[in-house]
């Protein structure tokens, strides 16, 4: 919350006027009062429950209040696989929300369809509704979701509407490449070196 305490000194022709941006104030207010609508359809819901419970405590970030009416919510959590049959429902829920509104794709299925590359699954909710933050993972760890929420709060505060993705803390393919190189030299016996 440090941004409100910043001291601004005005000089030259601006002296005598104090200007600030209402947007910045609104962004600050909005990012700590997200009312969430959980659209929970699949196994990621378990991880969402863990996240909302006291152990990981989403309340620390001002996003703990779920609203089960889209008209009272301004953050749509899409948690789980979206089938073609559910797509109109999801679109309708999104359209009923009041602006400003944000969408968070929780897990790989909501982000891209995941491994359900078939006749019945929507390959990512961005095919239906605009999406602000993608959280990959099957399911994502609560830490990753908190990363996603903080990323969304940054975007809200700065007015950035471009989609963002939560990056893994490490590149998951990095180790695979190393393993392959080790294998060329003669097996995995060098595992001890890496530790």
């Amino acid at each position: 919350m440090g941004e409100l305490n910043r001291t601004v000194t005005l000089e030259g022709s601006e002296a005598g006027f104090a200007t600030t941006k209402v947007d910045a104030l609104l962004g600050w207010a909005r990012k700590y009062s997200l009312f969430a609508y959980p659209f929970v359809t699949a196994c990621c819901g378990m991880e969402y429950m863990a996240l909302a419970s006291p152990r990981f405590d989403l309340a620390r970030f001002g996003a703990e209040a779920p609203r089960f009416s889209p008209r009272q919510a301004d953050l749509l959590w899409v948690v789980g696989t979206i089938s073609q049959r559910q797509a109109p429902v999801l679109r309708r829920v999104y359209e009923q929300m009041m602006a400003p509104k944000w969408v968070l794709a929780f897990g790989t299925c909501a982000s891209s369809g995941g491994f359900y590359d078939n006749y019945t699954t929507v390959a990512g909710i961005d095919k239906i509704i605009p999406c602000d933050v993608y959280i990959p993972g099957c399911p994502p760890r609560p830490e990753a979701v908190i990363d996603g929420l903080l990323l969304l709060q940054d975007k809200i505060a700065s007015g950035d509407r471009r989609p963002g993705v939560v990056k893994p803390r490490e590149d998951p393919l990095k180790d695979l490449v190393q393993l392959r190189k080790k294998g060329d030299k003669g097996g995995r016996s060098s595992d001890k070196e890496s530790t």
Binding site: Q84, A87, S112, T120, I128, G164, V165, P172
Partner: protein, 198 residues
């Protein structure tokens, strides 16, 4: 275990039992499709068989065979504690159309067959003659075709609402989910259209 059941079916129906086989204690009889209902009723009512529980009813598609679709039911007797599997074969492909794909319903014999038969109709296009409510059960009514047939294209989707092509301001959608090399990761999204690989 219930080879006796197969013997009994063969003795009673003769030519209507096209083939039987037993493996690892599972016994299977293939029934001529026109006597399907009759055989099922016998299985349920005969005191020596008394198959009172329908465990499963499903379909299997063998596109190279004619008739190509098998309807399979798994039966269990809670009194005799034995099982049997009955199959029948229906449907042919003529000019890439599925024809003669119909068999009598067994809902009057086991009420639990109702939703199983709806699912088999939904996924394979088998029409169950006399079914009280033969609608799709998993797919939506607008869906065309039957997705578990082997000739249904694996990647064909039939969206109920059109996919987004413009963003909120009406501009063409340039960027899909930002997964891929541009975001500092070594993997990309499949069907990535914005300069990504493959």
């Amino acid at each position: 275990m219930s080879k006796a059941a197969l013997e009994k079916l063969r003795a009673k129906f003769g030519d209507a039992i096209l083939e039987t086989h037993s493996q690892h204690g599972d016994d299977t009889a293939v029934i001529a499709s026109e006597r399907w209902r009759e055989v099922c009723e016998f299985c349920r009512k005969d005191p020596g068989l008394s198959f009172d529980m329908l465990t499963d009813l499903c379909g299997v598609d063998f596109p190279e065979r004619a008739p190509r679709i098998e309807v399979v039911i798994h039966l269990y007797s809670t009194q005799k504690r034995h099982r049997v599997r009955l199959k029948t074969r229906v449907g042919e492909t003529v000019d890439e159309e599925l024809v003669n794909c119909a068999v009598d319903t067994v809902v009057p014999v086991w009420a639990g067959a109702n939703w199983f038969e709806r699912e088999t109709f939904d996924m394979y296009g088998v029409t169950f003659k006399g079914h009280p409510d033969l609608r799709r059960i998993l797919m939506y009514p607008e869906f065309e075709g039957h997705p578990l047939l082997k000739d249904y294209p694996a990647e064909k989707t039939q969206p109920l609402i059109p996919y987004r092509e413009t963003d909120e301001d009406g501009k063409p959608l340039e960027k899909q989910a930002p997964f891929g090399p541009d975001e500092g990761m070594s993997f990309g999204r499949k069907h990535f259209t914005n300069g990504g690989e493959a």
